[in-house]
Symmetry: C2
Subunit: 201 residues, 2 copies
Amino acid sequence: MARAVAGPEIERLVQLLARVPGLGPRSARRAALQLIKKRESLMAPLAGAMEEVLGKIGTCPVCGNLDVRSPCLVCSDPTRDPTLIIVVADVSDLWALERSGAMNARYHVLGGTLSPLDGIGPDDLNIASLIGRVRDGGVAEVLLALPATVDGQTTAHFVTELLRETGVKVTRLAHGVPVGGELDYLDEGTLAAAIRARTTL
Amino acid sequence: MARAVAGPEIERLVQLLARVPGLGPRSARRAALQLIKKRESLMAPLAGAMEEVLGKIGTCPVCGNLDVRSPCLVCSDPTRDPTLIIVVADVSDLWALERSGAMNARYHVLGGTLSPLDGIGPDDLNIASLIGRVRDGGVAEVLLALPATVDGQTTAHFVTELLRETGVKVTRLAHGVPVGGELDYLDEGTLAAAIRARTTL
């Protein structure tokens, strides 16, 4: 703003909102104004929800998921298959896989991928606790749902090597054409992988 | 989410964030996760800023601006020209005009535009208080910065008629080509207005 038209409290709210992913400086102003207008119906409940999460949230000691209870809702769900652990890099990947509804398994959140350039080594990720969970027994398969990037695949390799001695079955997500995807827009690597992994009709 | 992977507290935070303008259901999840990860550096200050604004915010009794003090920062600023009142439909328009930095004036926020279809009549807007401010004297010009829509122009007409008896000078924003705008993308109405209001070089 060229000059202040409202107190620094509102300016501060705008600046903090601008740091929320999905909101930029411009939409943060619009969001702040709407929050102020809907202060009873939206801003007050939102501030309350944040305070409540702030007071309770933590990292699940078993799988690394973020939840208000410990162990998290996934780990304490008795209806989930305890023999399958899906390994993900980030909690957002856990959420994304759950939205697909394809599996009724447990998870293990590494908290990132190995990245020598960024100085992220095995000790910075929840890899030791994954090996521990598998060693404790009862796990038949570890599905590595890691990003299809260089760092993701390096991490997958590293974890696979560590898990080899436990004898557990290690799998990874299939590569291929995204459902609903136009071939025209796909990169060559994905197309080549989809051809190699072609299935018989 | 297909099924809960975290407590209802987080789900509630996502749902409330999805109602913030600029965030949809998908980006609300991403925002919630980032807020949780940056809970000390972002979520706690943001919740605090909201609580602070919630406790103090109100509508300025003079001009209708939203601020934490009363009268608002604009109305209580002695360096602003008290002889010019810029009339806007919404607080967001006030913020937008201030960003332009073109004027050092006072404002009057109507709180909307006349809209017979939506049942918004003169009594639903802060029109009477505007007439009162002009009648109290000391105002030389009222600049109607209302939307260039049918409802906005109807409102401008209505306000102009009411102000006629006070003898104050009433102006409106110029129509024309937006700065940096391509002629090709402009509608005919804007182009015709820009031609009619052409200026000599």
